[in-house]
């Protein structure tokens, strides 16, 4: 259901985290690794972790864009986000759970806002962990829904070692993003997130 986005580029650390499972897919992209908006500016080239994942949702690009654009909605389906507070049209504060019961937080600014098409953001000082993200919405023909493609980049607090430790503890970021996208799909298509556990 969710898919890794394949592309040529120099993000060697990506290979550690590529997953191909269910309807999460790898989209082919041509060109170099850098996005036009250069979200990698906050992370030195060749460093850090980059995750690309996508999914198809039976909703219009406009509906999906509108929900995502209000960053305060993101913790509804991004399990490791505790809260996002929007300060003004460009700035927000994010707080997330990290492995081993820690927390990280950062301020972010919006760098791209193309309605119904693309949103990009990156962390600004003060930040526990440099990171940047992009989400693109593309409607498919013949009422087949909208693909949502997410790219996240971040520099873990203690470099590559931090990410490896996180992976060992079962907090592998690629899987987290896949599960987040799955929950986003459930929320947007059904109005709720499927669960079998007790009280929510």
């Amino acid at each position: 259901m969710g898919y890794p986005l394949a592309r040529t580029g120099k993000f060697t650390s990506e290979k550690l985290f590529v997953r191909y499972s269910g309807p999460l897919y790898t989209a082919l992209r041509t060109g170099t690794g850098s996005e036009p908006s250069n979200p990698a500016a906050v992370i030195p080239h060749g460093q850090g972790i980059r995750i690309d994942r996508g999914i198809t949702i039976q909703r219009s690009a406009a509906e999906l864009y509108e929900f995502w654009r209000n960053f305060e909605n993101l913790p509804c389906f991004m399990k490791h986000l505790e809260a996002v507070t929007v300060m003004d049209i460009k700035h927000s504060t994010w707080r997330a759970k990290a492995p081993l019961g820690q927390h990280v937080s950062w301020n972010a600014e919006l760098t791209v806002d193309e309605p119904n098409t693309r949103i990009a953001w990156r962390s600004v000082e003060p930040m526990d962990i440099p990171n940047a993200g992009t989400v693109q919405f593309k409607e498919l023909p013949s009422g087949r829904g909208t693909t949502v493609e997410v790219t996240l980049e971040y520099n873990p607090p203690v470099g590559m070692l931090g990410a490896l430790v996180a992976r060992l503890l079962g907090e592998e970021p690629g899987i987290q993003v896949e599960d987040d996208l799955r929950r986003f799909k459930q929320l947007m298509e059904t109005g709720e997130i499927a669960t079998n556990v007790g009280r929510q």
Partner: protein
């Protein structure tokens, strides 16, 4: 409440467990009035289904009375008598919209694990291990039913439980097998397995216009029920199925061959002995003896529907 819980291979017990609760707004809680055991429960009982945990509540064929509804439920009220299908379906995804409810994208919270095993996850299921969502099943006094606005259907007054309980699973399963045949006038349909699915497949096949049905089993009571349903019968312990099917169809073979047996097929042929050995050595989960036979028996350009359950190993 009391519920039938899995405790390991060949070990199920009635335990006292917490009552289910409304969690999501499209849930209902059902007080169960009738529940059945399915042939595929035996795969769980015999230890062939992975991702079972001690204490899991079994059962996916149940019906009863609505005792509580989530905020978003408008089509059902407390007191309604409902049948609950085996599959849990959201009604909104690509597959549900095409009425492929057992392929729902959104009802399995453990879809990421099922994806890795099967390529793509099916819908969530009641009482069928954590691979299919870990939902508590219906061999219990109460059950939580997600997406009840899609799945639960009201029973018309005057129909007792015994007349509608099979709509939970085995009647639609048998019916879908018959539908998948693509029956044409004059067709002969061979059906392996005269358990509940096979029997409903026999009835459905006639409903959909088959000329003849030949049913295959070895248990005398089951063969008798198949005959009562209008089928000609073959006992595979007394005769060669492949030879008989050819002889009884003028050398052509049946037009449609339904495998209503699945992975725990029983037989005596060399390929079956190999299947059993591999299964014991856990080299493969399936014993597809019947499937192989159905393919061989079926006429050229025929159809082989598979309602029988396979693990995929």
């Amino acid at each position: 409440m009391k519920a039938l819980c899995w405790h390991g291979k060949n070990d199920v017990r009635v335990d006292t467990v917490p009552d289910p609760e409304i969690i999501n707004s499209r849930d209902i809680i059902v007080r169960i009035t009738s529940t059945a055991i399915c042939g595929s429960d035996l795969h769980i009982y015999n230890g062939f289904i992975p991702m079972m945990q001690t204490g899991d509540v079994l059962g996916h064929e149940f019906m009863g009375e609505v005792v509580e509804t989530g905020r978003a439920i408008t089509n059902l009220v407390k007191g309604d008598r409902v049948v609950i299908p085996f599959t849990i379906a959201c009604g909104n995804c690509f597959f549900c919209k095409k009425e492929f409810y057992s392929c729902c994208d959104n009802s399995n919270p453990n879809a990421s694990i099922a994806d890795k095993l099967y390529g793509f996850s099916s819908s969530g299921l009641f009482g069928y291990s954590h691979l299919y969502g870990g939902y508590a099943g219906g061999q219990a006094q109460y059950a939580r039913v997600p997406f009840a606005d899609v799945g639960a259907f009201k029973v018309p007054d005057g129909l007792p439980d015994e007349k509608v309980l099979f709509l939970t699973d085995i009647f639609p399963t048998g019916y879908m097998a018959a539908e998948n045949c693509g029956i044409e006038p004059g067709d002969t349909v061979a059906i392996w397995g005269c358990g509940p699915v096979g029997l409903f497949a026999i009835k459905s096949t006639f409903l959909l216009g088959a000329e003849r049905v030949i049913a295959i089993d070895r248990v005398p009571e089951r063969l008798q029920m198949a005959q009562n349903a209008g089928a000609e019968i073959l006992n595979y312990e007394q005769t060669s199925v492949l030879e008989e099917l050819k002889a009884q169809t003028g050398g052509m073979g049946p037009d449609r061959c339904i495998d209503a047996v699945g992975m725990e097929a029983h037989g005596h042929s060399p390929d079956h002995v190999m299947d059993k050995a591999m299964q014991l050595a856990r080299l493969g989960t399936d014993r597809p003896h019947v499937f192989r036979e159905a393919i061989m028996a079926c006429r050229k350009a025929g159809t082989v529907p598979l309602p029988g359950v396979y693990g995929g190993g």
